[in-house]
Symmetry: none
Subunit: 209 residues, 4 copies
C-alpha cells in the first residue's frame, strides 16, 4: 500500500516531476518572473536537463497550463449536462471547488495567465474554452435563472461565478491573512461550499423550492 504510493511517486517520469515543479513555480511567480533554475532545483536537476524534456521555458509553461486546464474543462463539460436539480448544482459546485482545492496551483495559474492577457489560455484551451462557456450559458438559460436574468446578463452571471470560485483560491493568501482561516482546510472549504450553495440558490432560484 504505502509501497505502492511510494513506488508510484518514484516512478513518476522526470517529465512529470518537471511539470509538477514548474506548476508550483509558475503559480507562485507567474511565467515572466519564474526562473527556470528554480524549477530545475525543485526537481533536483541541472537547468540544462530541462531542455531534454521541453523545448524551452515557454513550451514547459504551456504544457503545465494544458495539463492543468484539461481536467477542469473536461469536468465542467461533463457537469453541465441535461436536466438539473438543485442538488445537481450543489454537487457540481462542490466538485469544482474540491478540484481547485486539490490543485492549489491551478487557480493562480489561471489568474496569472488572465492578467498577462490570456492569449495562451485561449490558444491552448482552444477548442475547449468557448464551448464550455457556451454550455454554461445554455445551462443558465434553461434553468430558472432565465426568469430573473435576461439573456444579455447571463454571461456576467457566469463570469461572476467564475470569479467567486476561482478568486477564492487565487486569493488564498489574502483570505487566510484577513479571515484567519486556511482557505483550503476542510473547514475553509466547507464554509466556502455552503456559501456558494446559498449564493447559487439566491441568484438562481431552484425550480422546486
Amino acid at each position: 500500500m504505502i509501497n505502492e504510493a511510494l513506488d508510484t511517486a518514484d516512478a513518476r517520469t522526470t517529465r512529470e516531476r518537471i511539470l509538477d515543479a514548474a506548476e508550483q513555480v509558475f503559480a507562485e511567480k507567474g511565467l515572466g518572473a519564474a526562473p527556470v533554475r528554480d524549477i530545475a532545483a525543485r526537481v533536483g536537476l541541472n537547468p540544462a536537463s530541462l531542455y531534454n524534456h521541453f523545448a524551452g521555458k515557454e513550451e514547459l509553461y504551456e504544457a503545465v497550463l494544458d495539463r492543468g486546464l484539461t481536467p477542469v474543462l473536461k469536468m465542467l463539460s461533463d457537469l453541465l449536462v441535461g436536466e438539473r436539480t438543485r442538488d445537481d448544482d450543489d454537487q457540481a459546485i462542490d466538485q469544482v471547488v474540491r478540484h481547485f482545492a486539490q490543485s492549489p496551483n491551478l487557480a493562480k495559474l489561471i489568474h496569472y495567465e488572465t492578467l498577462a492577457g490570456g492569449e495562451r489560455i485561449a490558444r491552448i484551451a482552444g477548442r475547449w474554452f468557448e464551448p464550455v462557456y457556451q454550455r454554461g450559458i445554455d445551462v443558465l438559460r434553461a434553468s430558472r435563472a432565465a426568469e430573473l436574468w435576461p439573456e444579455h446578463e447571463l454571461p456576467l452571471l457566469l463570469l461572476g461565478f467564475q470569479n467567486l470560485i476561482v478568486g477564492y483560491f487565487a486569493m488564498a493568501p489574502l483570505v487566510h491573512q484577513v479571515f484567519g482561516v486556511d482557505p483550503v482546510s476542510e473547514e475553509g472549504l466547507s464554509r466556502q461550499m455552503a456559501f456558494l450553495h446559498k449564493v447559487s440558490h439566491l441568484l438562481i432560484p431552484p425550480r422546486e423550492g
Copy 2:
C-alpha cells in the same frame, strides 16, 4: 482648453509621470517581470534618472501601490457609513465600479499583488486595510444581510463582492474576448453595474423591499 489639458499633462511632476508609467508596466507584467527600463522608456527617461526620484524598483512599486490603493480605501471608508438605503448601496457600487474603470491598472495591480502573497499590500495598506474589511463586515451585519447570513459567512460574502467587482476588471481581456463587449466601455460598465445591483439585492435583501 486644449492647452490647459496639455499644460497640465506637461506640468505633471516627473515623479508623477514615473508613477503613471510604472503603474502601467507593473499592471501589465507584475513586479517581478517588469523591467525598470520599460518604465523609464515610457517616461522618455534614462533608467538611471528614476533613481533620482525613487530609491529603487521596490520602493517605486510600493509608491505605485500606495497611490493606487489609498483612494479606494478612502472611498470605501467613506461609503461604508451610517444608515444605508438600497439606493445608497447601489450608488456605492456604482462609485466603486467607476473608480476601477477610471484606474484600469488598479484591479490588475491588486490581483498581481495578491497572487504574489499580498505581503506588501498588507504592509502598505497597513492601517487602512483591515479596518476597511472590518467596516464592511460591520455594515453587512447591520444590514438585512444579517437575516440571511450568519456571522461566520459575512467575510465570505464580503470577499465575494470583492471578487465580483475587482475580478471583472482584472480579467478584462478575457471578458472582452469571451463576451465580445469592451468591459470598460460605457455599455460594458452599465451592464456590470446593473448586474451588481441585482446581485446585491438578491444576496442582501434591502430593508424596504
Copy 3:
C-alpha cells in the same frame, strides 16, 4: 543500376556517413562554430552516437580534414613529376579543378583551417604538405618559369596558383552572386579552367611556344 547507387549509399558505413555530414557542416561554419548536434542530425543520429565512432569533435574534424586532404596531396604528388609539356600542365590544372569541383567542401575546409592558423593542417598533412610544396617549386624551377621568376619568387608564384585555384571555390557564393554564373556548373568550370590555362601560359611560358 539505380538500385546499385542506392545500395551503395545505404551501405556506406556509418563512419563514412558521419564524415560526409561533418565535412558539410565544418565547411559551412568552420570547426569552432559547427555544432556536433548539426552533424548528428544530418546523419539522422543521436549526437551521443557519434562518440561510438570518433573520440570527439576535434578528432572527427581531423578525420574529415585528413580524408579530404589526402587525395589532393596524392594527386598533386602524382601530377608533379617528370618532364612536363604544356598539355601536361593544362591537364594537371583541369584535374585539380575538377577535383575541387567534385569535393565542394574541400576548398572551404582548407580556407577555414588556414584562417584558424593552419596548425592542424600542418600536423595532419604532416609529411605530405611541405614535400608537395617543395615538389611544386622544383617543378617550377625546372620549367621555363625559371627564366622569368627568380628563385625567391617561386614560392609566391606557387602560392598564387593555390589562391587562384582554391579561392575560386572557397569564394563560390560571392562568385555566384557577383558574376551570376554558378561556379561549379559545367559552364563555370570550363571558363575557369580555360582562364587558368591562359594564366599559366602567360606566367610560365611553355617550352615549345
Copy 4:
C-alpha cells in the same frame, strides 16, 4: 609629441576600442566562434558593457565589417579611374597591398565572411560592392587586357587579382609557415608587391611595352 600620440590612443572612444578588439577577435575566429567575452576582455571591459555601445554581437560584427570595408572600397573606387599607365597600376597595387598590410585583420574578415555566405558583406557594402566590381571590369576592358581577355573572362581576371591580393594576407600564417618569411614584414611586402607587378604586366600587357 609622444604625449600627443598617447593622448590620442587614450582618447580613442570606448566604442572605437571595442571595434578594434572585436575586429581582432572576429578576424581570428570568425563571427560564429568568437565569444563576446573575449572581445570585452581585450578592451578590459565587462561583457555587459559592450551592450551599452552595440545592440548585440551581430550589430558589433557588422559595424566592424563596415568600418573595415568602407575605406578599401573607397580606395578602390578612387584608384580605378581615368587613363592608366603601367606605373598607375603598379602604384594602385602597392597602395592596396599596403592597406591590407596595415589592416591585418581585414583580409581575414573578408575571407571568413565570404565563407559564411557573404550575405552580410553584400548587405553592408551594399551600394559600394558591385559598383567597384563593375568599375574594375570597366578598367580592365579599357586597358590592353581587352586584347588578351574576352569580355566574359574579365570577371575571372578581376576575381583572380582579388584572390592573389587578399589571399596572400588571409593565408598569412600558412605563408609564414611554409616560406619562412613574415608576410607583413617589409621584406615580405616588397617581394609580394614586386611579384604582383610582374603578374599584372604579364597578364595585362601595359600599353607602352
